[in-house]
């Protein structure tokens, strides 16, 4: 960690604020549902606010640290907010806040459990983002697994239960593998689990075989959450089963926790040079490419909207992994920025899917003829995000693709560009039909006399559902245009990447 790290209680405060929601839920009487839920929203808003407070300091280059508990030398639970961790925390808190607002209107039964675990999950994820070493990261990562389970299983249908069960099987196994990797890391890393800017491990510390074991077990452990094939099996079941705000968070944040873990491992534990020496980045890149392409192909075959979006997420998260695996400046920049970009885009898409479900009860794309006319705002935002996913300028999706393309040129491996183009094509192939069916088909368009329905703007869904959708869609475009605004991804990530790749 950089030498000057100022002590600050703010990270701890940010992590603990969601617990207020928990307390509120437990303490408040049964009757005041509205009040309870709005207080929960306030809790997440406050968490976002506190995270935001650190922004100026981070932009100045400070880092904040606070030690939570120390076990023995080298094994301590510590928060250190560096630029990378802050970046993750920012999008995490932001998306969570919007999802909580959305949930107030969306969730109609067993809200207590849902909001309680949402809050807990946010808290644990903030803990992950702020973690100063692998030990802390692992602890919060594990807790987050169990915190997110009730969110997936919320509807308690057979589908949800099966999805939850699959999730647990994957996640618990991953957790065990990760435990092994952290212990191995501790053992061979000389008792130091911290993150450092240029990586901690080196060939002086341990043999090639040992280092590669550590890397691959980390890859397996984090890869399950990051949905790298073939460890992605839980994702397509979990997303449709979970309620839409939870799916949005799942895709937008929880999958990213796995990806973030890999980012930390590659940059802050192994370091770029060691990665090049060991040559494992090739495996990472290959897996990422396979995932990108195969996931997109699968997405084509899905009729259930949320399943299609889920497969899309699997592919998109691998963009991040690919960017990281390129080991170049622009590649890393694009990959890490995609963490936020995808969160914005996919979050919006899932929330739209939720509105569609609430208002029309439709799950499958083939049934969604002409909903653009019934739910115009929703579908316009959907289309905007879908176009962004395809990489259309001027959106964040375009920025990602551009940077990744640049990165692959820098790496001297134009094959990545081929992959990116293929993926873009496939993205178009599975997103455009949705937009088409929504706006260019309508009930009764087969008949001779069928005429296009009018756009009805007034009777959209409850504003708590629509506002987050619109905010996200607007951001998708704005962040794509005014890229260099401080606080937006570029300002933060470029700092990180410029240090690693001078």
């Amino acid at each position: 960690m950089p030498e000057k790290s100022t002590f600050s209680v703010i990270p701890l405060l940010a992590m603990l604020l969601p617990w207020i929601s928990l307390v509120v839920i437990l303490a408040m009487p049964k009757k005041s549902r509205r009040l309870r839920l709005w207080l929960c929203f306030l809790g997440s808003l406050a968490a976002f606010g506190v995270v935001l407070v650190m922004l100026p300091g981070i932009l100045d280059g400070n880092t904040y640290t606070i030690k939570l508990a120390g076990l023995v030398e080298g094994l301590e639970m510590r928060f250190t907010v560096d630029t990378l961790g802050y970046y993750f925390a920012l999008i995490l808190a932001f998306l969570w806040m919007l999802a909580t607002l959305y949930s107030i209107s969306y969730i109609d039964h067993k809200e207590n459990r849902f909001f309680a675990f949402m809050a807990l999950c946010e808290s644990f994820l903030l803990g992950c983002a702020f973690a100063a070493n692998m030990f802390t990261y692992f602890i919060f990562y594990e807790m987050m697994t169990f915190g997110s389970y009730p969110l997936i299983i919320h509807e308690e249908t057979t589908l949800a239960r099966r999805a939850g069960y699959k999730y647990l099987v994957y996640a618990v196994s991953a957790g065990t593998v990760l435990f092994f990797s952290v212990v191995a890391h501790y053992f061979w890393g000389g008792g130091n689990l911290g993150f450092q800017e240029y990586g901690v491990l080196s060939l002086e510390m341990a043999s090639r075989a040992a280092l590669m074991t550590i890397f691959f077990t980390y890859l397996a452990g984090f890869g399950v959450k990051a949905a790298i094939m073939p460890l992605h099996g839980w994702v397509p079941d979990a997303h449709p089963a979970a309620p839409s705000p939870a799916s949005a968070l799942l895709s937008g944040v929880i999958l990213k926790a796995g990806a973030f873990g890999i980012i930390r491992v590659v940059f802050n534990v192994f370091g770029v040079d060691l990665m090049r020496e060991l040559g494992v980045f090739i495996v990472l890149a290959v897996l990422a490419c396979i995932t990108i392409v195969v996931a997109s192909i699968f997405a084509l075959t899905q009729d259930n909207l949320k399943r299609r979006l889920a497969y899309s997420s699997i592919g998109q998260v691998s963009y991040i992994i690919l960017g990281v695996a390129m080991l170049t400046h622009d590649g890393a920049l694009g990959g890490v920025m995609h963490l936020t970009h995808h969160a914005l885009m996919k979050g919006c898409l899932f929330l739209c899917a939720g509105i569609i479900l609430v208002k029309t009860g439709k799950k499958n794309i083939s049934e969604m003829k002409g909903i653009g006319y019934k739910l115009p705002i929703t579908m316009i935002c959907f289309s905007a995000c879908a176009l962004a996913m395809m990489g259309t300028p001027p959106s964040v999706g375009f920025i990602t693709k551009w940077l990744l393309g640049n990165g692959s040129l820098e790496a001297g491996l134009p094959v990545y560009i081929v992959i990116l183009l293929t993926s873009a094509l496939l993205n178009a192939a599975y997103f455009l039909p949705i937009i088409y069916i929504a706006f260019f088909r309508w009930d009764g368009d087969e008949e001779e006399k069928g005429h296009r329905p009018k756009l009805v703007f007034g009777k959209e869904a409850d504003h708590k559902l629509v506002v987050p959708v619109v905010i996200l869609a607007v951001l998708v475009v704005i962040v794509g245009i005014w890229v260099t605004v401080p606080g937006f991804p570029y300002s933060l990530v470029s700092r990180v990447v410029n240090v690693i790749f001078p």
Binding site: V72, L75, F138, F146, V172, G175, T176, F179, F180
Partner: protein, 494 residues
């Protein structure tokens, strides 16, 4: 130092004396018996806590019985680890005692009430003596008191199953005691002393290596039966599941731990690291059995339908953990094993008491019947969930910390398979524990099986459950209180 010098012996004798006096009180006023039984344990706990802060600089407290100097007299030798273990014993026994006050009417007929408390105090006092003693024959004596009271306590319900389980236990436990006695005999014949500190010096010099090796093997077998190390575990599932729940809590939570601790002491304090050639081969064999225990216990636990049987098999698995830590022969491994004794004691006792709570309120013993339990019994269910999380080894509970050190301690060139087996055991634990949690929280109950209002167990039963459960969390978050001293102690032992 003054009065504190005498504390250890008081900690041991007060419960024993109390056990002797209790029948008279029971004859006069049976209603007072539970409260009277608590007094010795409370005083032992208080004495122990007071002593904790006043340990002398040398790191251990040595008390010579009757002022006969060792090696001729019996020495009570308490160091940090020993005192720590004694406090655990006092604490968990006290909590189980409070739990028993209301529970015991479920399983034991009124006439046997006094007997129950007498045996309980005998058991506790004997465990304290077992941990504290510095003389190996004294160890045997306390072990016998321990064993006898536990045989009787398993049988106390008086019904067919209880008597049969107790007899099965006795049939394996009594020969094991004789084996220990024989081992002590061998040890004495080879070294000429019975004092453990003296033994450690003489073992290194003695020329009778075969005798000592056989003695060690016999010790491992003898205490291994008591600690239910695979394949000497056959008595445990029946005994622990059929005994009254607070007794199961003590048996699983304390007795097996203390027996494993005896093996630890014998290995490290008596047959010190200098004599590794004596113990090495046996310890390798023990490692294999311990690994088998982890897997066997885990798999059998998954297959069980009765809740207490499942918890009992889980104990077998965790005993394997402890032994894998001991045989790792590294400071981290041993520290992990000792910390695991703490956290397994707390967690397992909590699990058994929760099972008792379910039996008390509803009479349900099967896991199937726990579906949807949390509506009526949320406190019990949450405590069970927390304790299970410690059993699986998920942060931030104490189980995670001990698992960390156990795995780390086994992370050397020739022991990595054991590290992997520990992790595998953790996955197995996740399967059987999460299944119960899933049933409790996420499955709807059968019609009429549970009421919708919260009507949990009485507070005298919930309080111990929650203290134990919170303890697993506390010792996970604040493990820094104990781990450094345990590591130091472990390094010293090695």
């Amino acid at each position: 130092m003054g009065a504190y010098r005498h504390f250890p012996i008081f900690m041991i004798t007060i419960p024993l004396v109390g056990a002797v006096l209790l029948p008279f009180l029971g004859y006069l006023r049976q209603k007072w018996v539970p409260w009277a039984a608590a007094i010795p344990l409370v005083s032992s706990t208080i004495l122990g806590s007071l002593l904790m802060g006043r340990m002398p600089a040398g790191g251990y407290l040595s008390y010579h019985m009757g002022n006969w100097d060792p090696p001729f007299g019996i020495e009570i030798r308490v160091d940090y680890v020993g005192l720590f273990l004694m406090l655990i014993v006092c604490g968990i026994a006290l909590l189980a005692l409070f739990f028993s006050r209301l529970y015991i009417f479920k399983e034991v007929s009124g006439g046997r009430l006094t007997a129950y408390y007498v045996l309980f105090l005998l058991l506790s006092g004997a465990m304290l003596g077992f941990v504290a003693t510095g003389d190996i024959f004294n160890l045997f004596v306390f072990m016998e008191i321990l064993a006898l009271s536990s045989y009787a306590l398993v049988a106390i319900a008086g019904n067919r199953n209880a008597v049969r389980a107790a007899f099965k236990y006795l049939l394996m436990g009594a020969p094991s005691s004789i084996i220990v006695l024989l081992a002590i005999g061998f040890l004495y014949s080879a070294t000429g002393t019975l004092n453990m500190a003296d033994l450690s010096a003489r073992v290194a010099e003695s020329g009778y290596t075969e005798v000592l090796m056989v003695a060690f093997i016999l010790f491992v077998i003898g205490f291994g039966v008591k600690a239910a190390l695979f394949p000497l575990h056959m008595w445990l599932p029946d005994a622990h599941s059929i005994a009254p729940s607070p007794i199961s809590a003590i048996l699983s939570g304390l007795l097996v731990e203390v027996s494993a601790f005896a093996v630890l002491r014998i290995t490290f304090s008596v047959f010190t690291a200098g004599a590794t050639n004596l113990v090495g081969g046996t310890l390798d064999a023990v490692s294999v059995f311990a690994a088998a225990a982890v897997l066997y216990g885990g798999i059998m636990a998954i297959l069980q339908k009765d809740l207490k049987m499942m918890i009992a098999y889980s104990t077998i698995s965790h005993v394997g953990y402890i032994f894998l830590g001991i045989t790792a022969f590294t400071a981290e491994g041993v520290a992990g094993a000792m910390y695991h004794m703490l956290d397994h004691g707390l967690a397992k006792a909590c699990l058994f008491l929760c099972a008792g709570s379910f039996i008390y309120v509803k009479g349900y013993r099967r896991i199937e019947d726990l579906k949807g339990a949390w509506r009526q019994m949320p406190w019990t269910c949450f405590a069970f969930a927390l304790a299970s999380i410690s059993v699986i080894g998920i942060p931030p509970t104490a189980g995670f910390i001990s698992k960390w050190y156990l795995v780390y301690g086994n992370f050397s060139r020739d022991r990595w398979p054991y590290a992997l087996i520990l992790l595998l055991g953790s996955i197995l634990a996740a399967v059987y524990c999460l299944r119960v949690i899933y049933y409790m929280f996420f499955q709807p109950g059968k019609e009429g099986a549970w009421e919708t209002v919260s009507k949990d167990a009485p507070s005298s039963m919930l309080a111990p459950i929650w203290i134990l459960s919170a303890g697993t969390l506390f010792f996970g978050l604040f493990s820094s209180l104990l781990i450094p001293s345990l590591l130091r102690a472990a390094k010293f032992l090695l």
